[in-house]
Symmetry: C2
Subunit: 353 residues, 2 copies
């Protein structure tokens, strides 16, 4: 017997690499290549060092209100956390307390099984079809909760709104989480569903479309009753989560819808051009509605491409997992960054093909 017997043992999650060297092309963690709103720079100048001695607003009211306003919702329908990982972990903790297994796709955001394991939540993964699409009937089984990203990660494919509503409607006894981390890059949000169903929760983030991965802001929309349950657990875990700079800078960003829409449009444009280039080079890929492409080459193994790019200071993501180990997930960067990527790929394929 030792204190180590009572330790929660987990398989530690390995986050995507955040290389410290400069002059790299970083296409590995789906960050936005463009800066956040110019209003963030102004807000930064307004930060008062003396204010830092005081606790921040535990209700994060300014930011909650800003998000509610911009999305045409009520403040009581909005929850804010430290990135959508914090929001999702709190959702798992709050709503997935059944003995029945929760359901999520076999190929999906790699944190779902990590949270389930850590929180001792039973789960059964549901295989995507051969084109990496969610099959609605898989989510009509008995379950203790449902979660999926839309668009899905790392595939980038979307589930139609009617299909999402069908899943929500079929599961009145479960919470259904629609993780919309990538929704702003061309997909449709399930947000309107919260008016009809109190068992659906829609999560979004500042880390992708809003160019603020470094600020750690995620949020969730749901019916007021559902948000209340979530806040009760959050306040019991940590009352003061978001720091004063986070609240001020996040609030400044959220009101500038023009800047972030413009950036998303640029990324979608680059994505369209990149998809053409990838196909010309012998890669196979589905249409993506996110800020990344999920590509596989007919001849050259993904690991080989991954290593070669890495040696050339171009970082993309390769998952050493069943069904997807032949694929690379490539974040859409600037046009210039994509040119560097394609130049390197051209060189590699000349020697390999």
């Amino acid at each position: 017997m030792s204190w180590e017997n009572n330790v929660r043992k987990v398989v530690p999650y390995t986050p995507g690499e955040q290389p410290k060297v400069k002059d790299i092309v970083k296409l590995n963690t789906n960050e936005n290549p463009y800066p956040p709103s110019p209003r963030v720079a102004e807000a930064l100048k307004s930060l008062d060092v003396n204010r830092m001695r005081l606790y921040p607003d535990p209700k994060i009211e300014d930011l909650v209100h800003a998000i509610a306003t911009v999305y045409g919702r009520k403040d009581e329908e909005v929850f804010v956390g430290i990135g959508s990982d914090d929001v999702l972990a709190m959702l798992f903790m709050t709503f997935f307390n059944s003995n029945k297994p929760i359901l999520f796709p076999d190929i999906t955001y790699s944190f779902y099984d990590v949270w389930a394991e850590m929180l001792r939540i039973p789960y059964v993964t549901q295989p995507l079809d051969e084109n990496f699409h969610i099959r609605v009937q898989d989510y009509k089984k008995e379950n203790g909760g449902i979660v999926f990203p839309n668009p899905n990660a790392p595939t980038g494919s979307v589930l139609a709104q009617e299909a999402i509503e069908e899943i929500v409607k079929a599961n009145p006894d479960s919470i259904v989480i629609v993780d919309e981390a990538y929704v702003d890059f061309g997909a449709e949000s399930a947000l309107p569903l919260i008016d009809k169903y109190d068992n659906v929760i829609v999560t979004q983030t500042f880390s992708k479309s809003r160019s603020m991965a470094g600020l750690r802001v995620g949020y969730a929309f749901a019916a007021p009753k559902t948000i209340k349950y979530l806040n009760d657990v959050k306040y019991s875990f940590n009352s003061y989560t978001m720091n004063y700079p986070g609240i001020v800078l996040g609030t400044a960003e959220v009101y500038d819808t023009e800047n972030f829409r413009k950036n998303c449009a640029k990324i979608m444009d680059t994505r369209a051009k990149a998809a053409v280039r990838f196909r010309e080079m012998g890669f196979t890929l589905e249409d993506s509605f996110s800020n990344f492409l999920f590509v596989t080459h007919e001849k050259v193994p993904a690991k080989k491409i991954f290593d070669y790019l890495r040696e050339n200071h171009i970082f993309v993501r390769w998952f050493n997992k069943p069904r997807i180990d032949r694929y690379l997930r490539v974040t859409i960067g600037t046009d210039e960054e994509m040119e560097k990527l394609f130049a390197a790929l051209t060189k590699l394929l000349e020697t390999e093909a």
Copy 2:
């Protein structure tokens, strides 16, 4: 049956009030009345808006290293979280997984039972003695873990280092957490114990002595093996917790030991004078080693004083709890703020006494 059956139901924690009105004397949440290091203002100017599009360092290496350096420890002996509430919640989650009850004082930081309830950890509170001191023998019972603040909150009293070591030594099968949120105001840290025992964890915070409650930085010291277990759970919950401004500003603060020692000295000086004044006015109080005094008046009920002060825009803390509902916890502010407090108290006591 409904999804609500599977909700984690909690009694929501009520944080100390953060009034939004100006021109108040805020002595209710143990904030520091003095600003953080001037280096924080410089670091603020160095923040790069464009950097915010990238994820922050998940290992928070700069800040971990700064803390390790300043306290003469190795980086592997330091863990950093979003305020010491986040650190403590992670510690409960990581180390308190026994079926045996964890032990903590009956009068103590009001979050311990909240975390235990939320995480379904059995607990048995141990009554402080009649002078509100911890009795060492209470912590030699069979247990699944031990946690206590030193100095204790809201009493401000300390447990001698020998007594702490006795508790740690008597419990090789349990993790013992020494919560040193207030240690810099005149108490001695248990930090050296981590060299001898891998079952002791010492937590501290930027929220009190370092004047940065608004930045949300807490940290823990323990043996490398112990910190490793903690990090594994943390990475499985949320890989990127501290935002980019938090890391930069926190690192700037931690290297300036002179500023924070100077502020602590001022607060201890004000505390000594305030203790004299309170006693002169008919209050009873123990010596405090924290940035607050825990006072009770021989004639006037605490709730009456609390309400009166509040009407006069002076906020102190009153806990409506057994054994301590005759007490007020008064944060040590500036000399000027304390003068306002004593002026109001004088007025009240003239009419009441």
